[in-house]
Each structure stands twice: as structure tokens, then as C-alpha cells.
Symmetry: none
Subunit: 214 residues, 4 copies
């Protein structure tokens, strides 16, 4: 009985979260009412409160999108051997995510989470934790590259991590706004910038040129 019940409970929770994401993406956190979420998820308002203590709890569960940062960390961790390959994978995974229309809502909700993080400490904690994971992994990757002699010695790993993440964030923002991004061109430029600034020899661009997407 507990197993079925637990599975049910989790699926119900997801059903509500999915509805909430749609609402939040459409109207924003604050313009979305709990009635909206209930209606969209097909449950009563009372039921909503069986699964989440408050509306803020729902926001909390969505504002911090672990999947994005997990995917990025995973990409970098894949290529223990070759830091260059790790960077290339990172760009590719992130580019793919940016181009994915299925992630439109997540992006919009994510940007709202950034704003919410400014005044909600719990949300801030979640959001910056996700960022910190990616940053840590990036720093390690750059350090490995330096140790292997692939990256220049005068490169600051932390600056690289912060800067790349900042660029990703800005592109996410523009994508959320529906700005027309030429991801192919931007990807090529990013690879060129990385190659020019990080690498000891100019092999990066050619070696990592992905099969042209989008």
C-alpha cells in the first residue's frame, strides 16, 4: 500500500508542478493565482494544499531548475581525460538546451526565479547552489587543462567559470525574451574566444567543431 501511495503522491505532485510551470511561464509568479494552478492541474484548490504548504513552496520547487545545471555538470564530468573535449561538450549541451523549444517554459520560469532570488533567501540559496556546482566543475576542468599543458598558465579558472556562466545566463535571458539568436554563429564565436584566450595551441576550433546543428 505505501508503495502505490507514494508513487501516486509523487505523480500528483508532478502534475501540479507541471501545471504551475505553465501558469508561471505565461503570467509570472505573482500574477498567477493558486486558483489558476488548481484549475490548470485539474485539482481543487484544497488539494493543492495537500501537496504544497504554500504558494511559495510551489514557486520554490520550480524556481531552481536542477536539470539544467546537472546536465552541464554531467557534460563536463564526462571527459575526464580531455579538458578541451569537456568545454566542447559543455557548449554543445548548453546550445542544445537553448535551442530546445520544449524548454521554453523552464527558461521563462528560470528568469523569474532569478528575480525572485533577489528577495527570497530560500530561492536564492537554491539558484546560487545550482550555479556554484557548475562553477566548481568548470574551475576543476580549467585547472586540469592547465595541469595538462593544454591551457595557458596565466588563465584564471575562476574568471573563466564566472564569465562562461554569465554568458550562458545572458543568452538564456535573451532566449526567454524570444530574441532571435543565431546559435550557430554564437557557438562558433564562443569557441573562437575560448580557443584564443585559453589554449596554448590553436587546435580547439577545428578539433571541436561539432556537426553543424541549427
Amino acid at each position: 500500500m505505501p508503495k502505490i501511495s507514494d508513487a501516486r503522491k509523487e505523480s500528483r505532485r508532478q502534475q501540479i508542478l507541471d501545471a504551475a510551470r505553465r501558469c508561471f511561464a505565461r503570467e509570472g509568479f505573482h500574477a498567477t493565482t493558486t486558483a489558476d494552478i488548481a484549475r490548470e492541474s485539474g485539482v481543487s484548490q484544497g488539494t493543492l494544499y495537500l501537496y504544497f504548504a504554500t504558494k511559495d513552496d510551489v514557486i520554490l520547487a520550480l524556481a531552481d531548475d536542477r536539470r539544467e545545471s546537472e546536465a552541464l555538470v554531467h557534460a563536463m564530468a564526462q571527459s575526464e581525460q580531455d579538458p578541451a573535449e569537456g568545454l566542447a561538450l559543455l557548449l554543445e549541451v548548453y546550445g542544445r538546451s537553448l535551442a530546445d523549444p520544449a524548454r521554453d517554459e523552464a527558461r521563462r520560469v528560470g528568469v523569474q526565479g532569478w528575480a525572485e532570488a533577489l528577495r527570497n533567501p530560500t530561492i536564492r540559496a537554491g539558484v546560487t547552489a545550482g550555479m556554484a556546482e557548475v562553477r566548481t566543475e568548470l574551475v576543476r576542468l580549467v585547472e586540469r587543462g592547465r595541469a595538462a599543458g593544454r591551457f595557458r598558465d596565466d588563465i584564471d579558472p575562476d574568471a573563466v567559470a564566472r564569465t562562461l556562466i554569465a554568458t550562458f545566463q545572458g543568452l538564456t535571458l535573451q532566449a526567454a525574451w524570444g530574441e532571435p539568436l543565431d546559435l550557430g554563429g554564437i557557438g562558433r564565436l564562443l569557441r573562437a574566444m575560448i580557443r584564443g584566450a585559453l589554449f596554448t595551441e590553436p587546435s580547439f576550433a577545428d578539433a571541436t567543431q561539432p556537426r553543424d546543428r541549427e
Copy 2:
């Protein structure tokens, strides 16, 4: 009388906007009430509505911070002759702004404007217009650099513009969150990336190395 009255009116408006900025930076757009703004600006709620038609009007006036983009555009326009200098100036002006504690509130309000732009078309128009100006000027700058033979031919001006702006946005976001940014290191890295990717010869870094600030 109209002139004096106009000046009065404008000063009153600014007084309210300054108060609103402080409130918004502290609590966010939605958690700030019109009563909060009135109290903080020292006028009555009724008076508030003599200067702004709705609360959204106040948000609108603050969400889109022209000063930032105007400064950037101005920096680039300064150096009609030398595109490299234009880029250097851009980085410097933006770095100075990022490091300026006096702009803390503007940054926080700006990030909230980004989220608000997702669902408020008017705000979106304002915010993206500011971004478009900077982008246009950047594109022109890169094109001039290519024409002058300073920049590589295979560089996509639009990608450069979008990417640099994205990076600025991401850094603004992290600064708004209070993340500790090593702006010196980040500036050096950015110059290296730009030099490596854009320039036909590696003079950028040295020529533009600013008197060390941070």
C-alpha cells in the same frame, strides 16, 4: 509659472522614482505596495497618483534603465576612429558600472525588470529597445573594425554583439545577487577572449590594458 511648475513637477517625479527604486530594490515590484512608495517618498498615496497613472507606470519608468545602455553606446561612439579603442572603452565603462556600489539598487531593479519584461509587453519593449541600441552600435563597431582590417573577416558582428551583451547581463545578474566577482580577472579574460577571436594581430591586450582598477 508653467516653467517653474514643470521643474517642480519633474523634481517631484524624481523624488517618487528614487523612493520607488529603493523600495523595489529591497522588496521587489510585487511585494512593494503603493503605500510603501508613498511613505518612502514622503508624499501621500493620493499625490502618487497625480504623478503616475498606475503602479505599473512607476515600474515602467524604472524597469528600463536607459542610463546604462546610453553610457555603453556613448563609449562606443566616442572612438569613431579606432574600433579596438571602442571595445576597450566599452569594457571599461561597463566594468566601472559593475563595480559601482551606487548602482546596486539599479542592478536589482534591472533584474526584476528582466522578469517583468517576460509578461509585460510595454516593459519588454523598453528593455529590449535599450538592448537593441547597444547591439546596433556594437555591430557597427565590429563592422568598422573589419573594414579597417583590424578584425578578422570571418567574424559575425551580430554574434559578437549578442554574446558580449549576454555576458554583461549575466555579470549584472551575479553582481545583483551579491556574488563576489573578481572584476580585474574577468576583465583580463574578456580582453583576451576578444583579442583571440576578433583581432587579426594580437595587439589588443597590450594596447588596451587599462590602468589597473578593480
Copy 3:
């Protein structure tokens, strides 16, 4: 089988009522939820409704505490022969009840029942019926005392009944509030007042002085 089932049912009912009394004493009728009662009694909310039709039904079953009035009536009925003894017993039984910490919860719930009786006719009926029984028995006791020549002729039995009951109620109220009552002193005073106002000769006090408790 029906007999066992009935016993089970009754014990279950009591289990729920005991839990409800604890809840009501702690939080009051209105601040106690049916979920509270269910939790405290260790049954599910659904089960609660197998034993009581509504929450008001539970309140009803507790607001009117028959045990108190039954004990008082019984005390008076004991001494058919000597009305003085009846009064003495009444005071003693009531004093014992007032001093009994085990009746703390019942007192608190009782006081809430008084308030509830103001707007719930059914509760009012129950509460005033209990009071009426005590009153009737007191009136009969005083009348017997008058007939036997022990009590003064100009005494109004109804006034005596109402007044004594009122005093009991007030003391119950103060005890429920946790006021420090010197029950010994109050008992002595009450006996003196009764003796002075009711009796034809001043034997009451000495004859009825109980072995000092409290």
C-alpha cells in the same frame, strides 16, 4: 455479537470524546479542527464521522457535563432527613470537584459550553437542563428545611437555589482561569453566609465543619 459490537462502539466513542475534550480544553471549540481530534484520538478523520454526525455533535456531547450536576443532585438527595446535612454535603461535593485537578479540562470545556449555549439552542437546552435539575433539587431541599422549621420562613427557596448555583458557576470560572482560590476560606465563608441567612438557629457552622481539606 451485537452486544460486543455495541461495547466496542461505545468505547471507541469514549476514546474520541476524551481526545476531543483534551483538544477543546487546550484550544477551544472553534480553534480545534476535526483533524486535531482525529489525530489526538488516533483514528482517521473518516472514522470520526462514523461515530459523530458533525463536529457540533462532538461539542454537544461534551459541552453539557452531566457528571457534575448529577453529583450535586445526588449529594442533596442523600440526606432526605436533614436539609442542613444536604447543604453541607452539597458544599463538600462541589468543593472537592473544584479542587480536583483531574477536572481541569472538564471545567475549561464547561466554560466554553456556557458561551456556546448562548447561540446554540441544543447546547443551551443541555446546559440549562443540568442547571435546572440542581435548582429543582435545591428548591425542594430548602422547602423541606422550612417545613421542618430548620430554615427561616422568609427565605425564598428559588433565590437560594439561583444564588448558590451562581456562586458555584463563578468559582468554576475562576478556577478554569487558573485563579488561585483559597477553597478552605471560601467554604467557611459560604457556610457562614448560609447559616446566617437561612437557619433559625446558628448550629450550621459547627455541625457541618468538615475535616479540613484543601
Copy 4:
């Protein structure tokens, strides 16, 4: 401007409190909604919250009826010279209040305040403070009577105070329930009881017999 404004404010507050008292007397604290109070007082719900922070605030302002205890204290303080007269006045003032139909609502609300005092510390403080004032004054009165040789030496002032107050409370309760009280008879009995228990000589009853009311 402030004087008019203050007067207005106070009158508005009273208007709301009067309406609330009517509602509470009719339906009880908990069954009365803030919408009920607003409707009954002829203001909007929003306005209600301009004058009271919460519904509990309104309850608080009504649960503790200072007027009653103040009147009683005043009655006792009047007759500095003659304690007997003080007691007589006390009974008379209280009897008058009990018989006053204009105080019906106050009585009903008061009884609800007793119940509320069980779980709301602030209300408890207010209610018991009122009781303490009357008690203190009664104790002082009895002590004066003993010092003057009018009252017996073996009388416990505190017991007298507690017991008389308890009787008043119980009679208030019964009056609130609409029980038919023969106040004349009860008053006579109370005087007889006081005379018999407190006085050194039996002059009380005759000396203080009031012009027969009710």
C-alpha cells in the same frame, strides 16, 4: 484638523465596535465574520481594517468590558466612611446593571470573553485585570469594616471578595442565558447572607434595604 480628525476617527471606531457587539451578541465571536461586522456598521471590509489590525483586535476591544468593573469599583469607593454602605451600593449598582436590558448584548459578549480568555492570553489579561480591580477594592472595603469594628474579625476579606464576584459572574451568566431571575429576592437573600456572615450586629439588612426596585 487633527482635532476633528481624531474625533472622527474615534467615532468611527465606536460605530464599528457597536456593530461588532451586536454581531457578537447574536452569533458569537467565531460565527461572526468580518463581512458581518462591516455590513452591520455600514462600512466596507477594507475600512474595518483601517481601524482594527485584525478581527481579534475587535474581539479584544469588546471582550473586556471595563465599564462594568469601573462602575462597581466606583460604587465601593464612594462610601469611604461606611463599609456597610459600600456593600449596599455595590449590590445596588450590580443589581441595576443586571436588570438593564440595554446591557443584554454586553453581557452576552462578556460571557464569550470569559471563554475566549481561556485560550487568548491578551484577553485573559484584560478580563482578569478587571476582576482584580474589583477584588482589590472589595478586600480593602472589608478590611476597613473589620478595622471599624463593623465586620467580624474572623472574616477572610479575600474569600469575601472572590465569593461575591463569583456570585455576580454566575448571575451574569444566567441573565445572559435569559434565565428568569427574581432580582428582588436574590438581592434580599444576598444582603441577608452578607449580614449574617460579616456583621457584628444585625443592622445591615434594615439599614441598607433599598427602595424596592424591580
